[in-house]
Symmetry: C2
Subunit: 376 residues, 2 copies
């Protein structure tokens, strides 16, 4: 296993790319979907089950972990990998996004953000320097720059000011990160839905130099059409030989559209969160297991799926345990959703390698257009 962080691009098909990120903790096949393990657990899943779905890397949330159980504590306990029993690579976000969406009494200055914890009201400060320190204590393999961004739509000046602050913070993050062989630091492009600002941001980041580049400030309310418009140009502004990570995306069709546009990595709570609310994805689109049509249905969610929920249980059972509020409902539906997402990534990787991404995409949309199987 390699002792340094590297990225090899193995094939492209149009703008879509497939390759491998190598880290001392294992390889990440790209395009990669990263399940979210917010508070040191991918909710309702054992980590070995997450690995069984095909996930190569998890995402951890700096904001949640710094508040509970605390970065110092995680460090004393041997780091996040050991704490949560995940031997593979972990990417941590910078905490910036969650501070702005979850914390109370936020105050944003050039220095950073002060806020109160949503857990216990305690006061905290996050800055580029403290975010780097916390992510180091967690033992993250891929560290994200501390940044800030507005929800969309937003005014040009708000987007520009925020992007330039994030670029100053990117330099401070780089300086604070220092030299940590085997660990990577990713810059985050901002600029909202304004092409020239995305370009300015990309140039600023490239001048600093990072191990990978994220596209931030999307999936913040702009809708798929605007997001795809930005993704038509934003990935191409970033270095071709480094991984490109689209943060916080998304639904299956968002993911396919992003990969098509040259994105290598994504993360989203959607498959796990939806598993807990009874929403599942199959090749034929979305299914709401709560619906009474499933109560007597002996068929699996998706007969072509090899996950435990589809291999061993009927829709009727999944409906029953969801309606009864049983924990196994969250366990099985989350497993299915994560399995579906990883299958999707695997199919895209294969299609790109074979140069058949367009055919894959046609099939993907055609099957979804058929909709769920007919009720019995």
């Amino acid at each position: 296993m390699t002792q340094r962080f590297s990225f090899s691009l193995d094939a492209t098909d149009g703008k879509a790319r497939t390759g491998v990120i190598s880290t001392p903790r294992g390889e990440i096949r790209t395009p990669a979907f990263m399940p979210v393990g917010t508070a040191a657990t991918v909710k309702a899943m054992m980590p070995e089950s997450v690995a069984a779905t095909g996930a190569d890397i998890l995402l951890g949330n700096t904001y949640h972990l710094m508040l509970r159980p605390g970065a110092d504590r995680v460090e004393r306990l041997g780091g996040l990998h050991r704490f949560m029993n995940w031997a593979g690579p972990i990417l941590t976000d910078s905490g910036g996004f969650q501070v702005m969406s979850l914390a109370e009494l936020r105050r944003l200055t050039e220095e950073g953000v002060t806020f109160r914890s949503h857990v216990d009201g305690s006061r905290h400060m996050l800055s580029p320097e403290s975010s780097m320190e916390i992510q180091k204590k967690l033992g993250s393999d891929i560290v994200m720059c501390f940044d800030e961004c507005p929800a969309l739509p937003a005014e040009h000046k708000r987007i520009a000011d925020s992007m330039r602050l994030s670029m100053r913070w990117a330099q401070r993050s780089r300086d604070a990160f220092g030299d940590r062989p085997g660990h990577a630091l990713f810059g985050i492009q901002q600029g909202g839905d304004v092409e020239e600002l995305r370009g300015e941001s990309a140039e600023a980041l490239k001048a600093i130099e990072f191990d990978g580049y994220a596209i931030g400030g999307l999936a913040v309310g702009e809708g798929q059409e605007v997001m795809f418009k930005v993704l038509d140009y934003a990935p191409g502004m970033l270095p071709i030989d480094k991984p490109r990570y689209l943060m916080g995306v998304g639904k299956p069709d968002d993911i396919v559209g992003a990969v098509k546009r040259g994105v290598d990595m994504m993360d989203c709570v959607l498959p796990s969160r939806s598993g807990r609310t009874g929403q599942v994805w199959t090749r034929r689109g979305q299914v709401n297991i709560k619906n009474a049509r499933h109560a007597d249905d002996p068929r699996p969610l998706d007969e072509s799926c090899r996950c435990p929920a589809c291999s061993n249980y009927s829709r009727a059972y999944l409906h029953h345990v969801f309606r009864s509020g049983e924990i196994i409902s969250s366990m099985l539906l989350t497993w299915h959703n994560l399995h579906y997402y990883q299958e999707l990534m695997g199919e895209m990787r294969a299609a790109i390698a074979e140069g058949t991404f367009d055919a894959f995409e046609d099939r993907f949309h055609a099957l979804r257009a058929e909709g769920d199987i007919e009720p019995i």
Copy 2:
């Protein structure tokens, strides 16, 4: 695999017994602890994980299943085993106990009990005949007679009247059950804490003839001392060559005391329910994972335990996920508790076979007397 239900008694040590119940769906090593799968799931556990703890048989609750998803539906879907993905034997209770503890607007007559569902208020009737019918639809391997019992302490007349009603219901259950090769019907001894009534009940059941005999009407508020006093004589009133099942028991020391007194089977929600409330058992007694003393403790719950919670996680992690309300807390702590219970049963089976049950019991109590490991 056998096509009929049978019990072989392999060894005894004092009153303690070890043997094997054979069923077409697999063998049950006795003494056996049956995890409770109330609503077609052992809460927070995948069925293959329950099997991995060493459980040979599950208990299902007729009352819950008849109300949701309904016995007819379970039958249409291929029976409870297929519905919940458990290939091994399943014992179902008769529904009588839960009706009396959970249902609304109960009305008890010679015929049976009418009540309203606690789920949706719908009206239902349970009688010996309908309970047999429902348990048959569920596909239960071991069917329990429909019975009724008072909480203890209770007056002699109340205990006697209730026991005699249950004995009339036992005859009606036997008649309604009919001849079902490979399936067993167990009678239930009643009589509260009154020795002569326990004797009268045992004689009535033996005259009817059952495949096994349960000791009912205990673990209903009487405390361990009274329960053990009853268990000093009640099991010996039942046929020596049939399994004896103590219903709804109990804590680890209840179980050891019951096995010592000649009980072969037990069930209880305690290990799974306690797993969800942060209470765990180890060889050294009970641990409350919520307690702040565990927050920085890198040690496992029990270093001699081979369950996933103890093999892969620190007390600090288990404390963190419990406090954070994460589902994996219920998953891991339930797994540990069920593993602990099955380990305990296995040790007792081995000790009885070797004729060293007294030494086992001394060690069991001595380790518990030491209490949990010292805080770090």
